[in-house]
């Protein structure tokens, strides 16, 4: 080509081409994970609070939950559900809401990364962070004397179905509300479900009339189902799995219709 005017000059000769799809998705997923792990408020919700709930409620007899071993076996499935909720719902909703507000999603729409590639990268990032959370919580629970039962495959399926339900709800919220409204609502829902989602407080402590409703919410369905498998050694709870997948289908359909990228 032409001679360079001077050594320090930068050539802008066009060479347009997209990177290979797997490389784009990997780069995006890596960025998403780094953004989650770097965000102090998010770490509080995804790591600190679940670990605190587990350690605190296992060590101190806050409610009559039986022996320490019984308490840990009750709490761990609930805290795993909380971990999924914190990353797939609260974190994803708040993060996506602000990305939309700052025009980052809009700008990314002009890059070669397709939109489904962005969603796939977000899903991979959520799953990677959840893997970290589950590992950490399992280690802490083991140290507290946790005795898990049931099939690992059933647990994995439940965690994936819960992730699908929570993440579609998060995108539904982040894609329609303002970022500040999403922030407030996502934190409020986190708090409400922490209390009423069968995470630290057994659902049978609630009035009988409220229980069917709480069990039909994603947090209640996931925590109860994980408990049935991990504590009681039951097989895969198909009813709860159906509830979670129904939430994912409804929220996913609505999100696909209403999500605004800018």
């Amino acid at each position: 080509m032409s001679t360079q005017p001077d050594a320090g000059s930068l050539s802008f000769h066009p060479a347009p081409a997209a990177a290979p799809l797997p490389r784009m998705v990997a780069a995006q997923a890596g960025l998403e994970v780094r953004m989650i792990l770097r965000n102090g408020e998010q770490l509080l919700l995804t790591i600190v609070i679940p670990v605190l709930v587990l350690v605190l409620f296992a060590s101190v007899q806050v409610m009559d939950l039986g022996t320490r071993a019984a308490r840990v076996n009750f709490l761990t499935p609930g805290v795993l559900a909380l971990a999924v909720m914190s990353t797939a719902f609260t974190g994803l909703a708040i993060g996506t809401g602000f990305e939309r507000r700052y025009g980052a999603l809009k700008r990314l729409g002009a890059t070669p990364l397709p939109r489904w590639g962005l969603l796939l990268a977000k899903a991979l990032a959520v799953l990677a962070v959840e893997a970290l959370q589950v590992t950490l919580l399992a280690v802490v629970a083991q140290a507290l004397g946790w005795d898990p039962r049931g099939s690992a495959l059933a647990v994995l399926l439940l965690l994936l179905a819960g992730t699908a339900a929570f993440s579609t709800l998060a995108l539904l919220m982040a894609g329609t509300l303002r970022a500040e409204a999403t922030l407030a609502a996502a934190n409020l829902v986190y708090l409400l479900l922490l209390v009423s989602g069968g995470i630290a407080v057994p659902l049978d402590r609630f009035p009988a009339s409220a229980r069917p409703v709480l069990e039909a919410l994603p947090a209640g369905a996931l925590s109860q189902a994980l408990r049935e498998v991990l504590r009681d050694g039951h097989g895969l709870p198909w009813g709860a799995l159906g509830v979670l997948l129904a939430w994912a289908a409804v929220a996913g359909t609505l999100a696909a219709r209403t999500f605004r990228w800018e």
Binding site: G8, S9, L10, S11, F12, H13, P14, A15, P16, A17, A18, A19, P20, R23, M24, A27, Q28, L31, R34, M35, R38, N39, F98, E99, Y102, G103, A104, K106, R107, G109, A110, T111, P112, L113, P114, E262
Partner: protein
């Protein structure tokens, strides 16, 4: 013969009852710099964002590199660089990290370090986006538009809010893009920017292109200018008028103050000074006002460009 870089024919775009583009036509030849000039709300961003595929036109035809920006988005995205008017970066991501990320989405990106040096992003590269100054955010945004080595870039108000030094750096980069064969479409409401930088200026108002041409053509259209000087009182202005092109006016406005109105060009200036020299008269305080794009704009729209 390749299709023009951008071809917009009779674009119509409405937002509710507001008509943002009202039969707008624009052609951008490859390898040129085109400035879309107009006041706020004229339809500049709507036009550019329709070309970028963000907006669906309500009417008319839009082709970018011969392709439909929405239907052929996948093919166009690697080839087109975009600088949004504001935002576009994750708030908690460092400037250089964002730049490396967008580079990673392309097969043959520019050298990120060299680009950072070139735009003087330097130490700001380690700062997260939301803590950058407005000017630093603008420069990062510009870098993001070019890092994928596109053949066409859309820059929406690339120098809005920049200090003079940063503006010049941006202008130099835009010129270098053209030197290397990149087509540039930029919007601006700065007259001097359009005048200095652009091969073609499209003046937009109320959703239409009301004039288009090179800066020279636009300012020469119905050309008029003024030349003023001071000299000894009582010069024979009608004799001076006789040596100047037809239609030129000469007046002694105040004693010893002369005003020449007409197509002010180098030849006219030479004629005036030669005429003075023949009479042993020294023209002092000689000033020339040629029409600027600003004047053109006022003539076209009857109002000032809000800068």
């Amino acid at each position: 013969m390749p299709a023009p870089a951008v071809e917009v024919v009779d674009l119509v775009k409405r937002y509710g009852s507001t008509v943002a583009a009202d039969g707008l036509c624009l052609t951008v030849e490859r390898g040129t710099i085109t400035a879309v000039l107009g006041p706020n709300g004229a339809g500049k961003t709507t036009t550019v964002e329709t070309c970028e595929g963000y907006r669906r036109p309500d009417g008319g035809l839009v082709r970018v590199l011969g392709l439909d920006p929405r239907r052929d988005a996948r093919a166009l995205r690697p080839r087109v660089g975009v600088m949004l008017q504001s935002g576009g970066v994750y708030p908690g991501v460092k400037a250089i990290e964002m730049l490396r990320h967008i580079a990673a989405l392309h097969a043959h990106p520019l050298d990120v370090d060299a680009l950072v040096d070139r735009l003087g992003i330097g130490s700001a590269g380690r700062t997260v986006y939301r803590r950058l100054s407005g000017g630093q955010q603008q420069r990062l945004s510009l870098a993001l538009a070019v890092v994928g080595r596109p053949e066409l870039v859309f820059l929406d108000e690339p120098t809005a809010g920049l200090d003079p030094q940063a503006r010049r750096a941006t202008w130099e980069l835009v010129s270098d893009l053209r030197r290397d064969g990149v087509t540039v479409v930029l919007t601006t409401h700065y007259m001097d920017e359009a005048e200095k930088l652009a091969d073609t200026v499209a003046v937009v108002d109320h959703g239409k292109v009301i004039a288009t041409g090179s800066p020279g053509e636009l300012t020469a259209r119905g050309a008029s200018g003024t030349l003023r000087f001071r000299a000894t009182a009582g010069l024979d202005v009608s004799a001076l008028r006789d040596v100047l092109p037809e239609g030129t006016q000469v007046h002694e406005t105040l004693t010893g103050h002369y005003l020449v109105e007409g197509a002010v060009d180098p030849r006219l200036l030479a004629s005036v000074t030669a005429w003075c020299a023949d009479r042993g008269v020294m023209p002092e305080d000689l000033t020339i006002d040629r029409r600027t794009l600003e004047d053109v704009f006022i003539d076209l729209t009857g109002r000032e460009l809000r800068a």
